[in-house]
Symmetry: C2
Subunit: 237 residues, 2 copies
């Protein structure tokens, strides 16, 4: 139970290497990231893990994501590898592991320097069933404008993920992965505005998106509100 010492099969992993995932979701007009809280510490981390010795990097990232979200075949992009010698401190790792009853040799590579490969994932918020990992007290969504206290350089990693997402926005079908099957033009516009963090004109946005020929117009959506009903759209497969 809680008083037993826990171990990790550390020797199965490539030493000094980790993967950190920035999981983006969209809900309530906010762009959010999924962050687990470290047990017994006022600290959050990115959902991450290590790479098995015979595993592709991308497989490892998918495995880590599935553990946290319950979803398979998640949309993933590798965006940067973080490798400053002092980016992670053994002190923090010791706190995180030892305070939580892990029994790991203090000389292990896990308390030394880490190179971490950053992936960002785009998921349909409504489909995610968050799962709590072994280090975690809980795992929750946080608005990118109101992030909790993050360990290591994880705030910087989120920032870089966000910059990459913005840079790629016109080339990757971000909406396809962050929105549910069908959505209104307004919802898509708010998503873009939220990612770019700036207002867009309704008319120009609609024209531009429709001219790309990637959306199919479905039936109208009647919400019962006292105004014209918007169309629903879905991405053309």
């Amino acid at each position: 139970m809680e008083f037993e010492k826990k171990t990790m099969d550390i020797e199965n992993y490539i030493p000094h290497l980790s993967i950190d995932c920035v999981i983006f979701g969209f809900h309530g007009e906010q762009l959010k990231v999924l962050l687990p809280k470290v047990k017994r510490l006022d600290t959050w981390t990115l959902p991450g893990g290590y790479v098995l010795k015979s595993e592709d990097l991308e497989e490892a990232a998918q495995r880590i994501l599935e553990e946290r979200t319950g979803l398979k075949d998640i949309y993933l992009e590798q965006f940067y590898t973080f490798g400053k010698a002092k980016r992670s401190t053994g002190e923090m790792m010791k706190k995180m592991l030892l305070v939580n009853d892990f029994e790991i040799d203090e000389s292990s590579w896990i308390f030394q320097r880490f190179v971490s490969i950053g992936y960002y994932a785009l998921v349909d918020f409504s489909k995610v069933v968050t799962k709590t990992g072994v280090y975690d007290e809980f795992c929750e969504w946080y608005d990118i404008h109101q992030l909790p206290n993050l360990a290591f350089d994880h705030a910087e990693i989120i920032q870089k993920a966000l910059e990459t997402l913005r840079y790629m926005l016109d080339d990757k079908l971000v909406g396809l992965n962050l929105l549910p099957e069908t959505f209104t033009m307004k919802e898509l516009q708010i998503l873009y505005q939220t990612i770019l963090d700036k207002p867009l004109r309704r008319d120009n946005f609609q024209r531009k998106i429709l001219s790309m020929g990637i959306l199919e117009r479905i039936e109208k959506k009647f919400t019962g509100a006292a105004h014209k009903a918007p169309y629903l759209y879905k991405f053309i497969k």
Copy 2:
């Protein structure tokens, strides 16, 4: 001499991790990459190396580049991390090292799986004095359209570097790093055409580049040819 066994201080490096550099240069209307040939094998590799345990990734890349080109403070961009489990084979490493009289324990991580962080560098071709590394027979420039036989997944790494360079072309001042101090508009245009691998219109190219306000027009360049002399330009500091 050649008959002594050579050793490497392998334990100073982070295991299973390497850096591969795609060094771009521009000469004779061709985009080129600098590639060392492996001694005694009909094989070329990317100039690469390992990361010291207390070294930043970027420091390691700069160190590797300086060893090969003699240049300091080279323009560098990290573009992707290659991590398929089967991307490198121990067989090839054994050939490369053992055939060249290195004495390394066959169980070393150096013969196992590698994750490699890709950096591309942009250098002024005329300033590079290529140096031959310990594995190498020689180190030469190759046109990106006529690459020699490359080990591992290094052809794929070059391809990805090139794609990234193209994607970033409008945002990064590529010319600043690939061209000498001064150059003509035609030279700059040929550089862009070569990178993009498509022709550009002379008039539109000139208008667009000049409208960016990053070039300063210097004196004319008289080559002795029977036509109007072009202006020289340099990048505004």
